[in-house]
């Protein structure tokens, strides 16, 4: 739910003070780290205090969370914010129940106090608990470290270079016909140290980057306005994502340029300005059934909403019933080999894809990350589960998808990267489109909404092109597709091969009460869905 607020802030709404959390710091502090020996000492203090307080299990997360935001519109820098938040979160099991406490006070006494508080809360909670917590075993890994495989730490790039890039993007868009442009850089570095009574001391350095923009074209005479958002993906990468290398470009049959492992923001802004203007006069779609050809920039969000979320085990079990909702993909469906999609649909979860937002060496309860199947040859085979849930689905180990958005938040099950495996036989986008008689080719993500059990969804996009008799004919406007999840995936009739496989992602996915955010990627190649319901979204206010 937070996602919308963050997107609003990144767009037109953000002009004034923005301090998401933590304390704001000078840029040079973004490249420093806490000494590992100090973090280990803090962790050992908490582990011992928890044991002394009667905990049967304890994990400690010493976290330093850094963010930088650079926000511009047209020829102006609206804001540059650096934030840091450092502290320690202690989670324990005592009398069979969870307890959690967190503090910014990193003194020996401060940390020990938090551990004792966590144990006291666990004991208090145990009185209301009917079944003791059951943890899937994890073998301690000793002292290890992991770092996002970045080529260039974004935090080391001078602010001036970032400002120059964004103002360059804006100038290029304006020159190409935009009336307005907002562009932003979001940079994140999570320095996370995890230790537990299982005997693990895990030091991780996680980096993420996102470079969104929105271009607006206005026709004052008609009162019409249209926007086109950038086609970049948030990534688990360093500043090298903005290198815009030629080999990372994916040119669609009608010349629209999409991006893979690096992004040419200026090139995309120029295209966006022209396309936003083209949208002002594009014909309105005739509603009805169409075959859809979905670019990964669009399909990733559909996967996120109608595969990633419904296969989160806590939702399936009812723990999120009051807010995010439950799931149609109940446990009996897995037992009965529920046909989630057509036979070519293989959906997998992972926390290991290089460059993805979800990639880490170990999750936030010290479990080594991996890849596993969710839907195999169209059949539902698994969910996303963490240590205290694995036994519920008959598994002996966690999937390694536990996450907390801050040292101050308690970790819980969050979505791993969930991706659609590319087709096994060679198929290009051009060849896919050749076979479509009446269809729409959709690029980029737009409006998204889905019900609380993840059945009925509606999605928009950034660019819509009509396909007639195997050819892309013209741009369309006012398009949204309405789907029912199982029917949609069972209508999947072709998937391009791995040469077209790319990641999209959500930078601010919200869940829980109180709410937490997380970042997650979704990979796919261009995919075809037959006979999907298209509605026309144009209205007249008179």
């Amino acid at each position: 739910m937070d996602r919308r607020n963050f997107l609003t802030m990144s767009g037109l709404g953000l002009a004034g003070l923005m301090v998401p959390f933590g304390r704001v710091i000078a840029a040079e502090e973004l490249v420093s780290t806490l000494d590992v020996a100090i973090k280990k000492a803090i962790a050992d203090t908490a582990l011992q205090a928890a044991r002394d307080a009667g905990a049967s299990y304890c994990d400690v997360r010493v976290g330093r969370y850094l963010q930088q935001f650079v926000v511009t519109r047209e020829d102006k820098v609206q804001n540059v914010v650096n934030t840091e938040s450092t502290g320690v979160g202690v989670r324990v099991i005592a009398n069979g129940a969870w307890g959690f406490a967190a503090t910014e006070d990193l003194s020996t006494e401060g940390v020990a106090r938090a551990a004792r508080q966590a144990a006291a809360i666990a004991k208090a909670n145990s009185r209301l608990q009917t079944t003791p917590v059951q943890l899937a075993p994890v073998k301690g890994v000793g002292e290890v470290s992991w770092r996002s495989p970045i080529a260039r730490n974004s935090m080391e790039v001078p602010i001036k270079d970032k400002v120059d890039l964004l103002l360059g993007v804006n100038a290029a868009a304006m020159k190409a016909g935009a009336d307005f442009v907002n562009s932003t850089l979001f940079l994140v570095n999570e320095q996370k140290y995890f230790a537990s009574t299982d005997g693990s001391y895990i030091d991780q350095d996680v980096h993420r980057i996102w470079a969104p923009f929105t271009v607006t074209a206005v026709d004052k005479a008609s009162g019409k306005f249209r926007t086109r958002d950038g086609l970049s993906a948030p990534m688990g990468m360093g500043y090298e994502y903005l290198d815009g290398k030629a080999e990372h470009k994916y040119v669609s049959p009608n010349g629209v340029v999409n991006y893979g492992k690096s992004y040419d923001m200026i090139e995309d802004a120029v295209a966006a300005a022209k396309q936003a203007r083209e949208k002002l006069t594009a014909p309105s779609v005739k509603p009805g059934k169409y075959d859809l050809v979905l670019d990964p920039t669009n399909l990733y969000l559909t996967i996120h909403e109608n595969v990633g979320h419904p296969l989160e085990l806590d939702r399936v079990l009812g723990y999120e019933a009051n807010y995010a909702g439950t799931s149609f993909a109940t446990l009996d469906k897995r037992e009965n080999k529920f046909q989630y999609g057509s036979g070519i649909v293989n959906l997998f979860a992972d926390k290991v894809q290089e460059g993805s937002l979800g990639a880490v060496g170990f999750d936030d309860e010290g479990v080594k990350t991996k890849r596993w199947d969710l839907v195999k040859d169209g059949v539902l085979v698994n969910y996303q589960a963490i240590r205290d849930q694995a036994h519920i689905i008959g598994e002996t180990e966690s999937h390694g998808c536990c996450y907390a958005d801050s040292w101050a938040s308690v970790q819980f099950q969050r979505m791993a990267n969930v991706s659609l495996a590319p087709g096994k036989t060679k198929l290009s986008v051009a060849d896919m489109i050749k076979d479509v008689e009446k269809g729409i080719y959709i690029i980029g993500d737009g409006s998204f909404s889905i019900d609380q059990q993840r059945y009925n969804a509606q999605f928009g996009g950034q660019l819509f092109y009509e396909i007639e008799n195997g050819k892309i004919t013209r741009m369309l406007e006012d398009v949204a597709y309405q789907i029912r999840t199982p029917e949609f995936w069972n209508a999947c009739s072709a998937i391009c091969d791995e040469s077209d496989y790319r990641l999209g992602g959500s930078f601010f996915d919200g869940k829980g009460q109180p709410g937490q955010i997380s970042a997650v990627s979704h990979g796919a190649a261009t995919t075809r869905f037959d006979g999907v319901n298209i509605i026309n979204t144009a209205r007249n206010l008179g």
Binding site: L17, V218, A221, Y323, D451, Q458, I535
Partner: protein, 444 residues
Amino acid sequence: MSIYTEEQAKAILDKVIALSQADECTATLSGSITGNIRFALNNVSTSGIVSNAQLIVQSAFGKREGITTINSFDDASLERVVRRAEELARLAPENPERMPALEKQDYKPSPTFVQDTADITPEQRAQIAAASIGPCKDNKLIAAGFLQDDQSFFAFANSKGNFGYQRATNLDYTCTVRTEDGRGSGWVSRNAADVKQFDADESIQVAIQKARDSAEAKALEPGKYTVILEPAAAAGLISFMMFFFDARQADEGRSFLSKKGGGTKLGEQVYDPRVTIMADPWDPEAPVMPWDQEGLPREKHAIIKDGKVEYLQYSRYWAEKQGKRAVGQPGNLLMAGGSKSTAELVKGTQKGILVTRTWYIRMVDPQTVLLTGLTRDGTFYIENGEIKHPVKNFRFNESPVIMLNNIEELGKPVRLSGDESPFVMMIPPMKLRDFTFTSLSDAV
């Protein structure tokens, strides 16, 4: 400690301002104590108390500004945070739209603080959870809910002598009740500044009743229907629309309030004449802070009066550029209505659909504020003034602008807040014709 008295807060802020060597300095000190309890599957899942206090220092040299924050307030920390803000300001690019610090303002206090809410104990939270879970267990139903209460203070001062301080409390309760077979689901939400106005025993019965009544849902064809939106169902759409009252966007031609050929719809009849929405920080039922995030004083004024747009939101920069007066951004939305309850509106309805709650509302087209979303947790068919049977949930594609031109009748406003709304609201239940449902949802 995270709640400071006015004297304590002023002492810290005065020190910060005295330390400043910049052209201008604004310091904001805020703190809160938030308690919560969460339950699901008829068990308490988490509970906790989070205390937090933060000082934000904004220092400026001309059009260059630096912002820093800190959460320790000893003299050395204050000195460090002020120096750091000044250092960042010197490094920052000029922002031509930066506005000078506010001159000294006159803030009239509003009744946002209730001691009883600030005094809520962990035991009270547990009692509320138990009062929610108990009747559900007794009725073979499953409860999942969340209670969050907070007390907070907000204080600020600047180098031009401006100062403000006020405390506030808030309580938010939601509970979803589902039948064991998963075929029925009901929901209730309550928001109050005063815990005495919240009754868990009464509230849970609303959700229980809806869960039971919604279990045998029948499918109706999607299409245009007369609907009765309960206040919580209407609030999400109306609150969403208010994000698009920005004057600059309207002037720039990229708002539903922009006019063909240029200019804005300020002063024009955009809604049914029965639509009046006010902002009033001193409203006794839904008071909010007497200033907005920039410290600009809020005023009592109409946003929409008798269907005419009476207000566009000007930032200080845009107001100065356009020769307008900027007032504090509204913190509440007070929609006028009638005297009837939702149940009384149902009684007067020949055929229609009652909607308990709307969910996952997203913008489809900003040109017309076309929103999509779904009904949830209690959708019922009405015939001859009675609820006949539950119906399957619908997806809607509807613009609140069109919706507020299709009013049949407005009921008595109630106080509420929303998951995705920054406003405290008074919203009436409303009977509307031709509300557009575009597909069915199997979700319960």
